[in-house]
């Protein structure tokens, strides 16, 4: 097993599938669409299998990068093709590989136009996402990070709702604006470090005055992606207009790119700046949690409501990350994984009824429990998980984040906890209006309950939410060593009492002793 470049295979297998579909382009409409669907499904399932193998062979005791592949890609610039995963990236790789087949299945019958292009877009996106989470070279990382924009832009713009053009442009330009500043910061780091290798950059200390600027440049990119208040305005538009599977990917994985970036780059590379800006991040996170929860309460569109709830949940993530506490960061990652499952499932729940009724307005629904009992059950599970009910993965994430934050700032933890109450309010109220109540709309009476395909889509998500909610140890175990490593590095740089600075001081003293001796 060790001889195979397993990780690179995982990254590029979906691209291979995309090529297979591309070269099938000439066939007649229906055959081509059918082939495209099956090729895409099988490719993504095999990719999922490969990531499970990765997980199985992953050594959780080590904080170093595993399954590394490294060779010169652009030798002249000293830029390498370097990939590898540690405990921080593995959960996201798994999440991406899990959600793509679900997306493909969920669009099985709802996408009827340009099926080949649709499947190609999703497979290309899978390559870019997995590549992004496992890239260990800054230029390579940026390539994947930014490349995601193209398929997502097309997915929103071609298969989206009525206002799709506006949403697609806003998504693209907003996130591009954030990313380009990061590119300049990456180039600066490239010259400082003498290369773009991430492990090398992670161990290079930067001048604190420069760190501030580099941190801000990275922040511009990640804060837009995650998104933090007030950089979030692209998200509700993009979510609402994207097709169901597009929203699933957006909420499930794209938002996590920001959180991943904070943990991977901002904390270990710019510790002084991170400490300097932590109060600002806390403030923005708290505003996000409280404000967007209130905004969510006022929504009449189901997808928009879930979009705002995503921003609130991401507020917990940034809170946890910048508490720089083992529990806080583990909680943030758990929260991201769990939100990836829950929000994906919630968008799929909306998609299920949208495919039948073609409306996302809450007012158009009511009383679904009488005719779609299975759907109502699944929906309830995810609503409760989103609220953070103990026993679901949502609880683990939010609890750990609050635990970590409490040790740093009691105030932030208290306010964030109050946000959870608001979260319960809008989520349960949404559920009450859509599923309970009287069945007054006549067109709802003919609806059918979940089909076998829909059950198939929901079952892994249900399983994931419950398993990680009841027994989160496998997930926490995977990330433990890597998170501890990040925190050690952060503390070493900040704490002059022990670590690098201390060692320098000792060396200085030793030199002085030498001088005196002479």
């Amino acid at each position: 097993m060790a001889s195979l470049p397993l990780l690179s295979m995982t990254i590029f297998l979906p691209l291979l599938g995309a090529f297979a579909i591309f070269f099938n382009w000439g066939q007649s409409g229906l055959v081509q669409a059918k082939n495209a669907r099956w090729v895409a499904l099988w490719t993504s399932l095999v990719t999922l299998g490969l990531t499970v193998i990765l997980w199985y062979n992953f050594n959780a005791d080590s904080s170093s990068f595993q399954f590394e592949d490294k060779f010169q890609w652009i030798p002249i610039m000293n830029v390498g093709y370097h990939v590898g995963i540690d405990g921080i990236s593995l959960p996201f790789v798994l999440l991406s590989a899990l959600l793509i087949p679900i997306c493909i299945l969920s669009s099985w019958s709802s996408i009827q136009e340009r099926v080949s292009e649709y499947m190609i877009a999703f497979l290309v996106m899978e390559t870019l996402l997995i590549g992004m989470f496992s890239a260990l070279d800054l230029i390579l990382f940026y390539l994947f990070f930014e490349g995601v924009l193209i398929p997502m832009f097309l997915i929103i713009g071609i298969w989206g709702g009525p206002d799709r053009v506006y949403a697609a442009f806003k998504f693209f330009l907003y996130t591009l604006l954030g990313s380009v500043l990061m590119l300049l910061a990456i180039l600066y780091i490239y010259f400082e470090v003498g290369g773009s290798d991430i492990p090398l950059a992670l161990t290079t200390p930067f001048d604190p005055a420069v760190q501030i600027w580099l941190w801000l440049a990275f922040f511009a990119s990640f804060a837009v992606k995650i998104p933090m208040w007030p950089f979030h305005t692209w998200l509700p538009d993009a979510h609402v207009e994207a097709p169901t599977a597009g929203s699933v990917i957006l909420a499930g994985i794209l938002l996590k790119m920001g959180g991943y970036g904070f943990i991977r780059f901002s904390l270990p590379m710019f510790p002084e700046a991170s400490a300097y800006f932590a109060p600002m991040v806390f403030t923005l996170s708290i505003i996000a949690i409280v404000y967007t929860s209130l905004v969510a309460l006022a929504q009449t569109d189901m997808k928009k409501l879930i979009a705002y709830s995503s921003i609130a949940h991401m507020g917990f993530v940034t809170l946890g990350i910048f508490s720089v506490d083992a529990q806080g960061i583990q909680g943030a990652i758990t929260q991201m994984v769990s939100h990836g499952l829950i929000s994906a499932a919630l968008f799929l729940c909306v998609g299920v009824v949208y495919d039948r009724v073609h409306s996302r307005e809450i007012a158009d629904y009511g009383g679904l429990v009488y005719i779609m009992p299975r759907y109502a059950t699944v929906f309830m599970l995810f609503i409760l998980a989103s609220v953070g009910l103990p026993g679901t993965s949502g609880f683990i994430g939010e609890f750990l984040v609050l635990l970590g934050t409490y040790q740093v700032s009691t105030w932030a933890a208290t306010l964030a906890a109050s946000g959870m109450v608001l979260g319960a309010a809008y989520a349960l109220w949404l559920y009450r209006r859509v599923v309970f109540g009287a069945l007054i709309h006549p067109n709802l009476k003919l609806l059918t309950d979940l089909s076998w395909r829909e059950k198939l889509i929901f079952s892994p998500l249900v399983a994931g939410v419950l398993i990680f909610g009841i027994y989160p140890i496998p997930l926490l175990r995977v990330m433990e060593a890597a998170v501890a490593n990040v925190i050690d590095q952060y503390n070493l740089a900040l704490d002059p009492e022990d670590g690098i600075l201390d060692r320098n001081k000792a060396l200085d003293m030793a030199r002085q002793d030498d001088k005196e001796a002479i």
């Binding site: 652009i74 030798p75 940026y142 097309l154 713009g157 300049l184 180039l187 490239y190 010259f191």
Partner: protein, 496 residues
Amino acid sequence: MIEAYIPDFYRILPEVILILAALGMLIEGSFRKITDSKLTARFCRNAIVAIVIAVVVLCIQHKSGENWVTFEGQIVQDDFIFLAKLLILVGSAAVLAISIPSLAKEQILSFEYAVLVLFATVGMLLMVEANDFISLFVGLEMQGLSLYVLAAINRDQLSSSEAALKYFVLGAISTCLYLYGTSLLYGFAGSTSFDVIGAVIRVESAVGLPLGFIIALVFIIASLAFKVSAVPFHMWTPDVYQGCPTAITAFIAAAPKVAGMIVFLRILVLPFILMYGEWQAIIVFLSFASMVLGAFAALRQTDIKRLLAYSSIGQMGYVLLGVAAGNDDGIQAVFVYITLYLVMIIGTFGCLLSLRGKGHFGVQNLQDLSGISTLHPKIAFILAAFMFSLAGIPPLAGFFAKLYVFKAAISAGLFGLAIIGVLTSVVASYYYLKIVKIMYFDEVPAAPTITFGQSVVVSPEMIVVLNACGIIILFFFIYPNPLLEMAQRAALALPI
């Protein structure tokens, strides 16, 4: 007397081949009673063959590995010039190839088209290999005059004549500036040779440079800024792009920009390198203004060629960012950028030329492109790739061009300009995306305005060029090293 120059003529054999081919066609064409698009198409193919032969000769010459100085220091050759000449030749041949199917459609009936393209190409070769302000002037004028006539080739059409007249008048002003600048230089340095002027500046700058050098520098930069359409010398660009037949626009947009940039770089780096402090400020301004204007002015354009004109102004701004860096990284960045720019712009125009618009002419209005993603998915796909690449989105080739330019800017400490550059690239990506949007997002109109492959025959040459450009742009990221290595070799030949 003449025998002494025979070795020199061997060294400019590629140019000689092109001139002879052009003269041969000129003679044949003059004896024809009627000239139609068929004859022009055949001449285009002949011209392509001539250029290919020239490329082969050039490569064989370069294989021997020697750099030379001929015609008493007027013309030189090194790695940098060799690669620049290669780019110009390949670019010209590619534009000829993509123009063949549209000759009849665009009413380019006169056979002089192919002849003039060859003359302009020779002019461009002379521009980049000149090592003296006089031989450079000959090259500039040879290229310029051919382009003015090309712009007017549709003399019955008002827009074409108007474009040509504007081009000519503004071009004449730029020539005046150039001549004034060089005569000042001659007055102060006593020579027109790059080497001598460089040496004089080295001596003079030790005791304090006379003001005349700075004035000359400003005049020469202004005239070259006109050639590469850098703001504020860009006014001709949108009108000329829009007014000319699309095939001519493609030619004006491609190789002459490359030649202009190479000359820009050579002049600033060879004679004027010690005046770096003086010229850097000017170039920074030109770059800044071009990037900003190119980004914002194109936003509201509805004519696709006008939009591409502003886009090329913006793109030249990025190249100038590399020039402004003025170091080894900068030269590499300029080389990488113009090479990829050439590929992207030829590909883009190739897509436009393969589509047939309303009436006689090619695509004029942006809206004409709506619905081609269903009618002609391949063209739409490749055009979308070019647009994303021009916007600089990874993993397409355009990203690497921008990466190199920003890398040069950061290494030279031009942080402010780099930030302006990335921000304008975001603004500019709006209009590139707009083209993608029109092709893919808009509803298909009831009666599509574009037909492809029906009344317009797509020539095999065109398919080759389009595929080659598409493959380069899409898959450049897999192994970008060859081009980057070439750039490094080029930069080594131009020591700073």
